[in-house]
């Protein structure tokens, strides 16, 4: 994804392409593979990479704005930190608790044969599978 696309991406979701947002968006979206991160880890990586430092509150704001715009998804894993995911399609995860690392599993690589019906008055929104790993 090139810079012009980053600007389009931001503008199309009514997010002003500020210096900070562009820098964060480039870091997050200009890559081939899915990126899983916490606000803390993103902050560290951005600090290392760039000269201008972005306030932690801005990283929180930006990540939440990107999530609200559908550019990021939130992943639930064990622990008290919130994980985000640049892969916003329906997919699953390996979770390696040794390294606290997530690895994507394509939705097609897991086939569920039997599934219970939703409780009365409720519908199934989506199904998430976590495969916990050990050594």
């Amino acid at each position: 994804m090139k810079k012009i696309d980053i600007l389009k991406k931001l503008r199309s979701s009514r997010l002003r392409p500020t210096k900070q947002r562009v820098e964060i968006a480039k870091f997050l979206f200009e890559r081939e593979k899915t990126f899983h991160f916490t606000v803390e880890s993103l902050n560290k990586l951005l600090t290392k990479k760039s000269t201008s430092k972005i306030a932690l509150a801005t990283i929180y704001n930006t990540v939440h704005a990107f999530k609200a715009a559908g550019h990021l998804s939130e992943v639930e894993v064990r622990g008290n930190k919130t994980y985000f995911d640049t892969n916003v399609s329906n997919h699953h995860h390996f979770y390696d608790s040794e390294t606290a690392e997530l690895i994507d599993i394509d939705a097609n690589d897991i086939v569920i044969q039997k599934i219970p019906k939703a409780p009365n008055g409720k519908k199934i929104k989506n199904v998430e599978v976590f495969i916990n790993l050990k050594n």
Copy 2:
């Protein structure tokens, strides 16, 4: 589960059956159905139910001790609070984000037909399925 069993349960895991532990254990384990809770919700329910109040730190200590002893499991759900579960067998969950409620799904009620193999050098510890609900 009767009181005598509670005492056995505690003693068998080398946990002294103190007044607080017995009270919490009775509240958690003397019930038919699975109970899902956070430390905060447990604290509120215990405060409402009982006359003697138990310190929050004790509830944290006790819940962690019960978990370490295998009497409780921890469930990962969206949100920043840790959820615990009196069902320690391998099972799955519905998650109702409207009510922040978990509902058990028996392991046999979900059959997975196709599953990817674990990354190199890793093994599959277990598979957890979350079925997110909507109205």
